[in-house]
Subunit: 345 residues, 3 copies
């Protein structure tokens, strides 16, 4: 599919620097682009690569234009502009309605005629599948679950019983929505399993990454609002509520009953304990442990950057000696001297 | 299903404050409860919500009774009491024996007539499935694996070859029991894969969360004792042994050959290195890294709570300067003064 | 299968201490070995167990020989030697070509006659499956993916569209290769999904653990070179490149576009931020957070070992007071005294 720079500029509302008649036939990285391709540069780190690109044009922000030796499509949000152009040039094939051989649809399930149920996918009784949904191979939708229109379950996905999902949600392979949470009540004779009578309720345009897990609620629903994006291997505990357009990076664990606001950005491998409230527009940087409620907006951290192991071991040892350091300082403040050092130092 | 408070008090051995003839028809959260429902309050954090509840009755501890405006079922373990009542009112439907269309049962597998094998589940040769087991859709039980009675594999679960599982175990979607561990022996010409000749042996009443992984042993079995509960996305390395009734929260990683005692509580996202021994009744708080064997009982930590990012960056910088701080202090102790500060400060 | 010590010594190039005519019939751990079995001892931690072993022979390093009361096969790499012997005595059964009932092979897929496609496995259009591959039950290979010879997908594995995999790769249950990465471009009206036009390209002898996820690239491929081993629950972000023979332990998360060198050892639960370059032969110890590019060779750390919780809480409190400590020290250096202590101390 070929398109001119002029058409791209008009269609996506971009400013063009260069010949509008130049033709783009594909997308390529800056460094390996060949004539006929469109590249992008949105990260200052890669600005130095602009000069040698062989792309026909580059999507970029105005401040990078001086470094660009070829045509340019200029946007204040060049990565988003690139993403829209690339998606337009490489659309998902339209979903063709029907059932594959080996798909198992329980009596009483309602599957839109425009939806596709792939090989060996399983749909439980009373489940409702919206228009143009793609239920990928070996996925399981348990009884009573409801998917809105245009959802995409790639493969080996599990949507548990009575979960409700909005429109245009994406579930990558292996993700699980609505499994029972980790609920055990201590009793004198051991732990008693807490029944999970709640469900999980996802808004529109939610995306859940590969092997990510979202637990159902104990009494109320776990709620994931519109536009929330979860990366791979994320764990969302029972009864959590995550506000609209919050982004959660890979390997994050969120314990039960925590409420996270809107438009938050949770970095990779963050851990958040249960029963907290995180405000709107909170950023938590990677590898932090959140142990208290955090008002928003704000940025919070506790990740420790790696250094050379030998220096780190010394830092840990010094940290262990901070107590002694404080005592030595206090003694000096009281007028003591080195002779007064304690035996344990 | 309706039941009176009087019947609940008798059946579950609870003290009743209020009219024994009041009828309960369902379970609800404190805040959204309506007449006819039973709520519970076990966390002091939510005590303030008691006053406005519209529930017919609340399960609670005696010390919360003064704040409760409605009938109450009183227990020293209110969450456990609630869990038992809720499970009684919402029982799992009984498993109906049989095979779904698309289930694949290898010749030589032995499946109890009372067990259910769901759509597209696969049972390998020589596997043994106990009475009333529920083998959910698209689950795989490899050859020679043995499940005790009343086990529940929800969906997309994998139980690998020759794994043995006790009675009443629960496996949430996507969990994997008995995959080969991460065993590679260094040699001059690269790494040699270590064969995993051991298995994995689970006791009774074990629960493994969604997408949790438990590796098989290299020579001996990996052993998970009775009543161990693993949350989602937990990794248990090869040859580990986990003692009875230990609870392990989400995103925990346990390296190979580590032995964990009984009744331990391992918090979320904890990492435990290999070849350690953790005693009975050890608590490890969330986000800690365990690098040495820990005697029990005891509570251990190394998780760093997140603070405002600007303050955290300063803390990290100061930590890097601890060495200089110590040297400055030592100089003062020796009678030096500010003029003697070193160039690097 | 029985074999003499003499044959083992010759076949694996080991030095023998003891009677070459002794016969080995199986493998066993040092502590529970019985006559007729071979054990090994490669970890100094377990040397004390040698004296009481009842094994017929032990594979060990020369320096342990004095402690060994039975015959010994001596190697400078005893664990590797053991692994080779054990694999020889317990070979995987040869793959028998064919399709199981319920396997779904799309028209246009090319499956070698010597490959096995297990029950309910799904092969997409245009996929190519090499000689003697084992495609385990309920695994999914999407359209256009290509597997080299002798690959083993255990069960419930997902290989996404157009991924290419070399020879002899191993995929444990639940792992996902080539899912879309976490790519969203900020725009004034929300986030725009970035299309993932790249693929994932794996070399030979790669092993990916249970429920591990490897994302495909946005424009270029994610690349995993020959001999890379990934443990369970590892996340590899889009566009990453991992050099040959690098080992990555469980629960590691690697953000997008990071490049890792050859022969690196990444410890458990490490987090690596995106767009970094890690050199060859870098070791990152467990639980570290890597925030900057790291030259190789070298060893880097930031994991904090757990201590008793009460001591750890004090350490955290002192860390919060480091600022005040520095100011007190500076005051003393200027000739101040205790009377000058600030109010906030």
């Amino acid at each position: 599919m070929a398109i001119t720079l002029g058409e791209l500029a008009v269609r996506y509302g971009l400013e063009l620097s260069g010949d509008p008649g130049l033709t783009i036939e594909g997308i390529a990285p800056l460094t390996t682009a060949t004539p006929g391709t469109l590249a992008f540069c949105s990260n200052a780190k890669y600005r130095r690569l602009l000069g040698s690109t062989r792309a026909t044009a580059v999507v970029l922000a105005r401040e990078m234009l001086p470094d660009c030796p070829v045509a340019a499509l200029i946007s204040p949000h060049p990565y988003a502009a690139y993403a829209r152009i690339a998606a337009g040039m490489h659309p998902h094939p339209a979903v063709v309605g029907g059932f594959a051989v080996g798909a198992s649809i329980a009596p009483g399930a309602s599957v839109a005629a425009s939806a596709w149920v792939g090989p060996n996918a399983v749909i439980g009784a009373g489940a409702v599948i919206g228009e143009r949904c793609f239920i990928g191979p070996n996925s399981v939708i348990e009884e009573g679950a409801r998917l809105g229109d245009d959802c995409r379950l790639q493969a080996n996905v599990t949507i548990c019983h009575d979960v409700t999902v909005g429109a245009r949600c994406v579930f990558k392979p292996g993700c699980v929505v609505g499994g029972d949470g980790f609920g055990f009540a201590p009793a004198p004779d051991g732990f008693v399993k807490v029944p999970h009578l709640g469900g999980a309720r996802l808004g529109n345009d939610v995306e859940a990454g590969s092997n990510t897990t979202i637990d159902r609620g104990t009494i109320e629903d776990t709620v994931i609002d519109d536009g929330v994006k979860l990366d791979n291997l994320v764990q969302v505990g029972h009864n959590c509520r995550i506000g609209a357009h919050t982004m959660i990076a890979g390997c994050v664990g969120i314990s039960g009953s925590t409420i996270i606001g809107r438009r938050c950005m949770i970095g990779g491998a963050v851990g958040i304990v249960g029963h907290l409230e995180i405000g709107d527009d909170v950023v938590v940087t990677g590898f932090s442990m959140v142990t208290h409620s955090l008002p928003g907006p704000g940025t919070y951290s506790s990740g420790m950057p790696a250094i050379q192991a030998i220096d780190w071991r010394r830092t840990v040892a010094r940290l262990r000696r901070l107590d002694a350091l404080e005592r030595r300082l206090a003694r000096l403040e009281r007028g003591g001297d080195a002779a007064g050092q304690e035996a344990d130092e």
